[in-house]
Amino acid sequence: MKELINWVADPIRSFPIFSILFFIVMKYYRIVGTKKFAWIFTAIAIPAFFWFMSDPNFFLIITFPDNIPISILIVSILFFTWFTLHKCAINDQRIEDGLGPVEALPENREKVWCWPNLVYTELFTIIAGTVFLIVWAIIFKAPLEEPANPTWAPNPAKAPWYFLGLQEMLVYFDPWMAGVVLPGLVVVGLIAIPYIDTNPKGNGYFTFKERPIAIWGFMFGWLVLWIYLIIVGTFLRGPNWTFYGPFEYWDFHKVVAEYNVNLSEFLWVKWLNTSMPANLIMREMLGIIITALYVFVLPPLIAASDFGKKIIEKSGQIRYYIFITLLLIMMSLPIKMVLRWLFSLKYIVALPEWELNL
């Protein structure tokens, strides 16, 4: 069983599984969003967790002071995701029945005093939060390591937990992309959301059905491309950034057979059976064309589809193009991951001479 879980946990397998799970959960959110489902899930999860903990290797990873925030993060994300889906399920059912959302009921629209209803309770939160942080700090001492030694770097050298998703991206992308372009676009995209999303529905109440694109898109980026990668980076990456199953001993000497090939090498050597052109642009032509098609041709094509038409109709051309570009760039991550796993593809465009790899 443990071997099976170790085997399944490898991103090659766990990423598709996680993605499929994500789609099932989102698709059947009305079932997932029931209290019954939550109780059944909890009833299964708690013994499963203890069984996991009984393994010395898993115990080591989970109790490592650095990793405790991730455990907290997993539990809170599970809860809040379920909670949202639960609220959405109720409201969507009510809206379908023509009752309007729960938040719109008269007793929920009554106004109350700021003091003490808000300020006082905020103070409680501050105190409780401080107590929590202090107790945490006392029980789990700051996981400071030795003074930095340039000749003896830690292995694995891990980023702070909140950056582990980015670090995981480095496996698939050039540092320029994974470290600068993509994080930059994440920030830009997050800033742009209010300007792109002009759908007034869902203001002040939970709903899924009335804004499916926004929720599907955001949740995919958040859960699959961010949280999942953080979990992988934290628990499943060991020395040399090699994958280790949750029950696997972090053997320093573990070796993984991997050899990656650039798209240009596929094209010229494998498919055309000729030598690589000396001209860089010529050499990388196929990759450049594919990238250009992806970035410049795909948006207008989608715009012609029903999906695109709907968005343009609702929010206009400019918003559509910004949105679709951001979405495509976000999707380039899973696309690249799948290409890597299926074809050992290193870079689509490989121009190390210009420090530009895609």
């Binding site: 409680f124 006392i138 390591e145």
Partner: protein
């Protein structure tokens, strides 16, 4: 909602208040917890217990001090004091009057001090003002001058008054003391008597747990002036490498190891124990006081960390202790510490970092023995180690090997030296755990065959030039044990003595008859340099008969089993296969095969031989023609103690302790073990041979090696040899090269052969302060032209063919070790005091010097050195020292002490004055002495 809320309220205020109260209490508790967590430190408990121990010790010493106290004396003094007090009371009126007077004087003194101070400042100010005014020709200058003069006068008068008052005060005080004399005297006597008791009581008082102690150490308040606190030393001259900066080392070990530098706590358990060697380490008067060297500069570990037991990077000595620590201290091994503490027993490794560039480190016995073992096994041959470059290759030259042994012998020997000689120092390359599969063995056999062919092809012609005429092997055997061979060689037939001596400079002599032929052996014995100009084997000036006798014995030692071994012939197919592997390193297999097909059979064999010698690194230990200047085969070990643990390949040996020491020791015991369970092609097998060393040797070498670290220490912190020590060290290199220390004990060090003698007077002389004993120019000559000095010795000083430079180095070493760099003026005529010479002659007879030192005085057999040669050989100051007390220099010597405890045996001459007698006798020896050598050769000595 059951209860109706006020309008505009989402919650019930009372309920909110309750929540607030609960949270506030929780917050308060957490805050207290923060302070407690900060306050409760493991080392405080340790210090409290230490306080109890100290208290107990002080109480014990107080009890013993009180016991020692002379009660009667004390009672007597107290009685005297009582009486004195009564007497003083009777004088109280006078005393009171004097005290009143004293008060008056004191008022005046105080007053005068103020006046004097004011005047003093005025004098300074006016001097300055006048100086400025005068130089600028200001109008008020003259007036200022007058005022300044006045102040100066006043000041002088005031100072004078002050002196007078002070004189008065002193006088009155003396008078008062005189009136109270009986009290004062007794008080002082009592105080003197009770000093120890009082001081101990005072110390005990400081350890009291009273309210003051509690307040000083209370949480919140303990930032002011706690008594329980972290103790530390900061070392200016030793730094810690914090990677981007070197910072002064800080050690806080003494926070818990409270009494490490105080004697008297030897009986305590850790951490309260006294350092086991206070005279050498940590002690205030030791060469390494705690203030300058701290703890971790030698022990390793993280000395500045006191947060818990594990933080300091303590290292358990074994698995058992580790388990104990886990239970006791929640111990976990250090994580990513460059230099965890050395284990107990490995601490001497810490010496190496500062004591560089010396052959042996005084008192670091384990490191020294480890280095000796490294010398024995020739580690430095294959592995470069800084500071070992001057050493000769550990194995013999192979440049004339073909004339010494047979090819068959060579192959069988190389295959497994221990089959021929179980003491062989040549390690075993073949038939080991990683290469004893049949296909690997076959290839190894081909390699050994090829190496033999290669080395034979390179071997020069050599012909021994002394004939073996047969000899008496019993006599030869005796000669071997008496002449001194065993200072360097173990010998079959003297197994017990060989083991005692443990010589390793030369091979263990066994099976010699199966190895070499008679003529080679006799020639070798007579003149070793004839066969091998590089050898350190000296000539013992053997006569032809002696050489033949020894040869007869050695030739009788045969290894029949080994003689019968037949080495498998060369498998040419495998040879070609291996050559293909070599040639295809940078070429395709087809090209390699083509290249080989164009070579002759002989060329192919020689090529494989050449490659194999390179592969196994034979040239690292042996001089082989064609490999001059090649770097040794093994990795450098100069900084092996700083190599990160992650760079040690533990392979699949999971039982080996995961530490540097663990790896190195396991490696020394079986270097092939890392190949276990690894599938490797033949060419990649680990090549370090098996040395078959003992566990003890491996342990000691490990200690010597883990001390080889890369840590930077400022020059002020390391041991730097001074000019004398440098010269002595250079000489020591020569002394070690020729294994002089195999026979001679030099200032208490080594002298291996002494161990086989029951009577050390029969053994080679021990050299104590040799530079003071002998004259430098004589010594230099003696090393070149050895002649017997002690007629009773059967062991011989051999003739080494030392170069001038080497002889100079040895002489200089002894000179500088003894601090005697002078030469003796031989032209100086002995100057006698009147009657001194007659006295000296009388003494010479009455002390019967000539009864042992017979040479030249009578015809009896001499049992002591010839006194006529003293003049040329010894320094007069040493002779005096020797005469005064020979046993102080050599406790076992048979030379009698004629002036024991400063009392002369002869009480007549010079009235029995030992100093005069010794001086006279010395003068006499130098007067009768000759400048000639025993062979009458004077040429060397005469003045130019």
């Amino acid at each position: 909602m059951s209860k109706k809320l006020e309008p505009g309220m989402a919650y019930d205020t009372k309920k909110l208040n309750k929540v607030f109260a609960f949270l506030s209490i929780l917050f308060l508790m957490t805050t207290v917890w923060v302070f407690l967590d900060d306050f409760i430190r493991p080392w405080k408990a340790v210090q409290l217990e230490g306080m109890q121990i100290k208290k107990q010790k002080l109480e014990e010493s107080l009890a013993s001090a009180e016991k020692e106290l002379d009660k009667e004396e004390l009672a007597k003094l107290e009685k005297n004091l009582d009486e004195g007090e009564k007497l003083v009371v009777s004088r109280s009126k006078e005393i009171a009057k004097l005290k009143r007077e004293l008060d008056g004087v004191r008022v005046r003194i105080k007053e005068e001090v103020i006046i004097n101070g004011v005047l003093n400042s005025k004098v300074s100010a006016y001097t300055f003002n006048y100086g400025v005014a005068h130089s600028k020709h200001a109008p008020g200058a003259d007036k200022l001058f007058v005022e300044m003069k006045q102040y100066k006068k006043d000041f002088a008068a005031s100072s004078d008054r002050l002196k007078r008052y002070k004189g008065q005060e002193k006088k009155i005080n003396r008078e008062i003391d005189k009136l109270r004399a009986e009290v004062l005297v007794n008080e002082k006597a009592i105080k003197d008597l009770k000093t120890k008791v009082d001081l101990t009581k005072l110390a005990l008082n400081k350890l009291k747990v009273d309210p003051v102690f509690v307040v000083r150490n209370a949480p919140f308040l303990d930032f002011l002036d706690p008594t329980l606190k972290i103790q530390q030393v900061v070392m200016e001259n030793i730094t810690d490498d914090r990677y981007f900066q070197h910072v002064p080392k800080v050690d806080r070990c003494m926070t818990c190891h409270m009494f490490i530098d105080q004697d008297g706590y030897e009986d305590q358990k850790n951490p309260y124990k006294t350092h086991p060697d206070l005279d050498l380490m940590v002690g205030l008067d030791s060469p390494h006081p705690m203030k300058s060297y701290g703890c971790t500069s030698c022990h390793g570990g993280e000395g500045h960390r006191v947060n818990d037991f594990s933080a300091a990077a303590h290292t358990p000595r074994n698995e058992k202790q580790k388990q104990e620590w886990i239970e006791k201290y929640n111990y976990h091994p250090p994580h990513k510490i460059q230099k965890p503490m050395f284990k107990v027993g490995h601490t001497q490794a810490g010496c190496v970092n500062c004591h560089k560039e010396v052959e042996f480190i005084p008192q670091a016995t384990i490191v020294n023995e480890g280095r000796m073992a490294m010398e024995k096994y020739g580690c430095y041959g294959c592995h470069k180690i800084e500071g070992w470059e001057h050493k000769r290759k550990p194995g013999p030259d192979l440049v004339r090997i073909a004339s010494k042994i047979s090819k068959e012998f060579f192959k069988n020997w190389v295959w497994e030296p221990k089959r021929f000689n179980e003491h062989a120092m040549m390690p075993s390359f073949f038939g080991q755990s990683n290469n004893s599969q049949p296909d690997f063995m076959k290839k190894n056999i081909a390699e050994v065959n090829a190496m033999a062919e290669f080395i034979w092809s390179k071997s020069e012609k050599y012909k021994p030039d002394v004939k073996y005429v047969g000899g008496d092997k019993e006599k030869g055997k005796e000669l071997i044990s008496t002449v001194g061979c065993m200072g360097c060689h173990g010998v079959e037939g003297f197994d017990e003595a060989s083991e005692k001596v443990g010589a390793y400079a030369g091979p263990y002599l066994t099976g010699t008859g199966s190895k070499v032929d008679a003529e080679w052996l006799v020639t070798w014995l007579k003149k070793p340099k004839h066969y091998s100009p590089n050898t350190i084997m000296p000539s013992f000036r053997l006569t032809n008969k002696e050489a033949n006798d020894i040869a007869a014995y050695l030739l009788s030692l045969r290894n029949k089993k080994f003689e019968k071994l037949k080495f498998e012939p060369l498998d040419t197919e495998l040879r070609d296969e291996m050559l293909v592997t070599y040639f295809s390193a940078f070429d395709t297999i087809a090209v390699a095969k083509d290249k080989i097909s164009r070579m002759s059979e002989k060329e192919k064999t020689l090529e494989l031989g050449y490659r194999s010698v390179g592969k196994y690194g034979c040239y690292s230990c042996h001089n082989i023609d064609g490999f001059e200047g090649r770097a040794p085969i093994g990795p450098e070990l100069t900084k092996v103690g700083s190599k990160p643990l992650t760079q040690f390949g533990f392979g699949h040996e999971y039982d080996v302790e995961h530490s540097r020491d663990g790896w190195i020791k396991a490696h020394l015991l079986n270097p092939k073990r890392w190949d276990n369970g690894v599938d490797k092609p033949f060419k990649d097998l680990l090549r370090m041979p098996n040395l078959y060393m003992t566990d003890d040797e491996a342990e000691k070498i490990t200690v010597a090696l883990i001390g080889q670290v890369a840590d930077y220490i400022p020059l002020a912190g390391v041991k730097r040899l001074d000019a004398n020590e440098k010269i002595a060290n250079e000489g020591m290199k020569v002394v070690n090269k020729y294994n002089c220390v195999g026979c001679h004990q030099v200032d208490g060090e080594r002298g291996d052969i002494l161990k086989m003698y029951d009577d050390v007077n029969e053994a080679p002389p021990r050299l104590v302060e040799e530079g003071h004993r002998v004259q430098s120019d004589w010594f230099h000559h003696f090393l070149k032209e050895v002649y017997p000095i002690r007629p009773w010795l059967s062991v011989r000083m051999p003739s080494f063919e030392l170069s001038d430079k080497e002889r100079n180095k040895i002489v200089a070493m002894f000179q500088h070790k003894a601090g005697k760099r002078s030469f003796i003026d031989h032209d100086e005529v002995v100057k006698w005091e009147p009657g001194e010479k007659a006295g000296a002659k009388k003494l010479f007879n009455s002390l019967a010097c000539a009864s042992c030192h017979t040479s030249g005085f009578n015809n009896d057999e001499a049992s002591a050195p010839n006194l006529y040669f003293v003049k040329r050989r010894l320094r007069p100051t040493w002779v005096e020292k020797w005469l005064k007390n020979p046993q102080a220099i050599y406790p076992e010597t048979v030379m009698p002490n004629f002036w024991e405890d400063g009392e002369s045996v002869d009480t007549e001459v010079f009235g029995g004055d030992p100093k005069k007698q010794i001086e006279a006798l010395t003068k006499y020896l130098y007067e009768i002495g000759t400048m000639n050598l025993p062979d009458g050769n004077t040429k060397y000595w005469s003045k130019p």
